[in-house]
């Protein structure tokens, strides 16, 4: 299958390894991956902070960049939720019927990485090997807006050598919340520290999730605490090792 | 402009751009409790509220009422004017019918009250009083500290929708689910605040023998 990658602005800038990991896994499974070069951002930060007008050109750009793609994959649950759940609203607010139609065409073809693997490609064992103790934090947009359910864990459980341990209070938000992390930094950090406590209680070496933005927040706290726990997008775990 | 017209005007203004179509209510929730022994379920659910529950055959009602009155140390008992005499036999308590109407202080002087009810809901363990036969006015079942309620099996329904269908929403209704309680201290339920602190429910069922 020919799959267009929407890497997202955060991954593009801060975690290019996550984009390369998606590429590696999909190519290993025999698929062709394209990277529409014009892509930038889904507009989530602007939309969620109240800058809906500024968001309109970004949505317009997104539907243009991915107009020809049959299937789009993205390693970010919150960006996929933005595209699938909110692009329509942005188009409505803009009062642009053409944009509304374009969104209706594009949005349903955009999949979060685990949705693509499990639902579209029917894969749970992607042939990875990662001999470490890992815990998974279901990020809020993946959990509640996309309903990812058990898909990421199913993929992780199939990884050779990986010891997946349950995270206590897993369904609780980590406190990132985009600009919330700055506007309400104290509450954000209090929530993040509780998440860190739960992570440390698992004894995991690696905390993984479907959103690098949340991992920047929790990982930043873990790093400041000199905890030694690494954070990694689960795509990077699925890309580790080879099919031998 | 008076407040009424102004508020109605604001409401109409606020809705001017709203879609005209009536909002349909999808009612796909359960209306009945199928395949359930509603009398047993009712008794079990009332018990969950830490109320006393007895299921008795009709001929055993009076002795059980008498026993429960003794057990709750009721000396003075308020009753609605139309309470069947056969519910109270050889109880030894002072019975005060609410006719002429008992004053609040007289009610406060009663240890307990004995009534029937209009409907009982199995799923939620609820009894509903509607001021109809054997129930009296609302204050009667409120002021005394012990409420003994006789529930004929025929009034027990499975679910809340069944109860709503049976009840007349223009009557003064009191739905009672267990003794008075509060969750106001650390969100733990504790029984016994301003309403009756003891609730005794006696289900009369012909099937019981």
């Amino acid at each position: 299958m020919r799959i267009a990658l929407f890497v997202t602005c955060v991954n593009d800038t801060m975690a290019p390894g996550t984009g390369r990991a998606v590429l590696r896994v999909l190519e290993r499974l025999g698929h062709e991956v394209t990277f529409p070069a014009g892509q930038t951002c889904c507009g989530q930060m602007h939309f969620n902070t109240g800058y809906q007008r500024e968001c309109v050109p970004l949505v317009r750009k997104f539907v243009d960049d991915f107009a020809d793609a049959e299937v789009v994959v993205s390693p970010s649950a919150s960006c996929v939720a933005m595209v699938r759940d909110h692009h329509r609203r942005v188009a409505e607010v803009a009062g642009d019927r053409g944009l509304t139609e374009a969104v209706a065409h594009t949005a349903p073809r955009v999949y979060e990485f685990s949705e693509l693997l499990v639902d579209v490609l029917g894969e749970t064992d992607v042939g990875a090997r990662f001999p470490h103790r890992v815990t998974y934090h279901p990020t809020c947009h993946g959990l509640r807006m996309l309903g990812l359910g058990d898909r990421p864990q199913a993929l992780l459980r199939a990884v050779r050598g990986l010891d997946l341990v349950d995270l206590g209070g897993a369904h609780e938000c980590c406190g990132f919340g985009g600009t919330f992390a700055l506007k309400n930094a104290d509450v954000s950090v209090a929530m993040g520290r509780d998440k860190v406590r739960q992570v440390l209680a698992t004894g995991a070496e690696v905390l993984t999730a479907a959103d690098n933005s949340c991992l920047l927040h929790v990982g930043g706290l873990l790093s400041r605490a000199r905890s030694g726990v690494r954070v990694m997008h689960y795509a990077e775990i699925l890309a580790a090792g080879d099919r031998s | 402009m008076n407040a009424r017209d102004e508020i109605l005007g604001r409401v109409r203004g606020a809705l001017a751009a709203a879609p005209d179509a009536e909002v349909e209510v999808p009612r796909r929730y359960a209306r009945t409790a199928d395949g359930v022994d509603v009398v047993r379920l009712f008794a079990e659910r009332v018990g969950d509220y830490r109320a006393t529950v007895r299921i008795v055959a009709p001929e055993a009602l009076a002795p059980v009422v008498a026993a429960e009155l003794r057990d709750a140390a009721v000396g003075t008992l308020a009753v609605p004017p139309d309470l069947p005499h056969e519910w109270l036999i050889e109880t030894g308590v002072e019975v005060r019918a609410d006719s002429p109407v008992l004053s609040v202080n007289e009610l406060d002087g009663c240890d307990g009250v004995l009534t029937g009810c209009a409907v009982a809901i199995a799923e939620t363990g609820t009894i509903v009083l509607d001021g109809g036969p054997t129930q009296g006015r609302r204050a009667l079942t409120l002021v005394p500290d012990v409420h003994i309620c006789v529930v004929p099996a025929s009034v027990v329904v499975g679910t809340v929708p069944e109860a709503i269908t049976r009840l007349d929403g223009t009557r003064p209704l009191t739905w009672v689910s267990g003794p008075s309680a509060t969750s106001d201290i650390e969100l733990n339920r504790i029984e016994g605040v301003h309403g009756p602190r003891r609730l005794v429910v006696i289900v009369v069922d012909r099937q019981t023998g």
Partner: protein, 480 residues
């Protein structure tokens, strides 16, 4: 009494900081929210048709709101026919004036009150006090708040921020008839409240209540409660005054079959609350001889006018959204600066009060991570995250014109993200800055606007090569 006030409270972030520093508060909130979450989950899980009930509950309220004028008139006609007197109040001041006049007309100088959010909203107790009328709160938690000269911090349990030993201390200090050896056993505390209020219940001539539901087709009101204080107030006095927000209507009696299932399970986590009372005007020989209903707007029609925000008027005040909210759990209710705390307060208060001249209200739409736990728990499916985002946009649009630092950043970001070249240039700049600021791949504390992030969190240095650069160097030529 009633010295405590919402006026002059700081905006949310600052109030939250104070709450986070209060360890006792943190412990009390955590205990209470953990308890109630587990109870709610258990009784909701019992119902296989829970999602159907939620859908019906949302539709019933939407149906009401769509033709609210019609249902208000129907209610008025029916309640009046049943002997009630219906009053209309545009705002808090008008509602308070109506109630004060009614109490005076009854020649009373005190009233007993059933817990009601709406009378908190209009600050009725202060208005009564100013008129020389003493209001006695009879709900246990409201009593704790009133005796402690405190403010409510939760919709269901206004004294959720107090634990049992703090409650005992308040009772010992402020309740004249509290026993000297009062312990912090909850049953003993409840018994003390019973003794304290018993004479009031038996002698009061006027009661004030709110209502959980008002049935348009019959003119009946519904009050849902636990302790029996509601029944006392609704049944024993001669005069009953109920203040009812106009959004409390439901079209038909049958609609209660949904609401009376959703509310107790979502609220106290019970299959059914101990007592529910319904009445329709005056019932001769049973209950008050004079029944008044005050229908209150106080900003509700402004909420109704907003096509996204109006779903807040579906709210049945169960408080499930507070109990599941990770932000509320850490800040408590006072930080929200209004009687409506938590996620629902964050969308209701800014709409009821307006955001333009009210910094507290304007800060509330941002008091959320948009995690969505509230929406998941809401029995009438209010999409609180969507409403929050919508109100943020309203706040931003209301202040368009003057350039704030945030607006500058957002505009710059939008400009940068408008094309891949600009983004690539910004990425090179970020990598350069990161290389300058970082040590061993980590950026630590930074001054200025970045301090809010970096004071507590390290940031990885942006890699020297962005994904798009890597792609261009390694994959150029691949079909795009």
């Amino acid at each position: 009494m009633s010295g405590a006030t919402w006026l002059g409270m700081p905006a949310f972030p600052e109030a939250a900081r104070t709450a986070l520093a209060d360890e006792q508060l943190q412990a009390n909130l955590r205990t209470a929210t953990t308890t109630i979450r587990a109870k709610r989950e258990a009784v909701v899980a019992e119902r296989a048709d829970w999602e159907h009930l939620r859908a019906a509950g949302a539709a019933i309220k939407d149906r009401t709101l769509r033709h609210l004028d019609r249902y208000l008139l129907r209610f008025e006609e029916q309640a009046t026919a049943a002997g009630a007197v219906v009053h209309w109040a545009r705002d808090a001041a008008e509602a308070n004036r109506i109630v004060v006049d009614l109490v005076r007309a009854a020649d009373a100088d005190e009233v007993i009150k059933v817990k009601s959010m709406v009378t908190q909203e209009i600050d009725l107790n202060a208005a009564l006090a100013a008129a020389g009328i003493t209001a006695y709160e009879t709900d246990l938690a409201e009593l704790i708040v009133q005796l402690g000269d405190d403010l409510p911090s939760h919709i269901l349990v206004p004294a959720i921020h107090r634990n049992r030993s703090q409650i005992r201390d308040i009772f010992r200090r402020e309740m004249p008839d509290a026993p000297d050896d009062l312990t912090d056993d909850p049953a003993a505390l409840a018994a003390a409240a019973r003794r304290h209020l018993r004479r009031k219940f038996l002698t009061a001539r006027v009661a004030v209540s709110g209502a959980n539901f008002a049935v348009a087709e019959s003119g009946a009101l519904v009050v849902v409660e636990s302790e029996g204080n509601g029944r006392m107030c609704l049944t024993l006095p001669e005069v009953l005054i109920s203040v009812v927000g106009i959004e409390k209507l439901v079209p038909t009696w049958a609609d209660l079959e949904v609401m009376l299932q959703l509310l107790p399970r979502s609220s106290t986590g019970e299959r059914m609350n101990p007592y529910t009372s319904t009445w329709r005007g005056v019932h001769p020989g049973d209950g008050p001889r004079e029944v008044h209903v005050v229908l209150l707007d106080n900003g509700r029609t402004d909420v109704l006018a907003d096509d996204v925000g109006r779903q807040a008027l579906r709210c049945i005040r169960c408080s499930a959204c507070l109990n599941v909210c990770p932000v509320y759990e850490r800040t408590g209710g006072h930080a929200y600066g209004s009687p409506y705390p938590g996620p629902i307060g964050a969308i209701l208060t800014p709409q009821l009060r307006g955001m333009r001249d009210d910094p507290v209200a304007a800060s509330l739409p941002y008091a959320s991570t948009l995690c969505g736990a509230c929406y998941e728990a809401c029995p009438v499916r209010i999409d609180i995250p969507a409403a929050l985002v919508h109100l943020r946009a309203r706040a931003v649009d209301a202040t368009r014109g003057p350039l704030s630092p945030e607006r500058t950043v957002m505009r710059a970001a939008a400009w940068t993200l408008a094309g891949p070249r600009r983004l690539a240039a910004a990425q090179r700049l970020a990598a350069l800055a990161g290389a300058l600021l970082g040590r061993r791949g980590r950026i630590g504390r930074l001054p200025g606007p970045l301090a809010a992030w970096t004071r507590t969190r390290d940031t990885p240095v942006p890699p020297g090569q962005s994904f798009r650069t890597w792609w261009r160097r390694n994959r150029r030529g691949t079909a795009e």
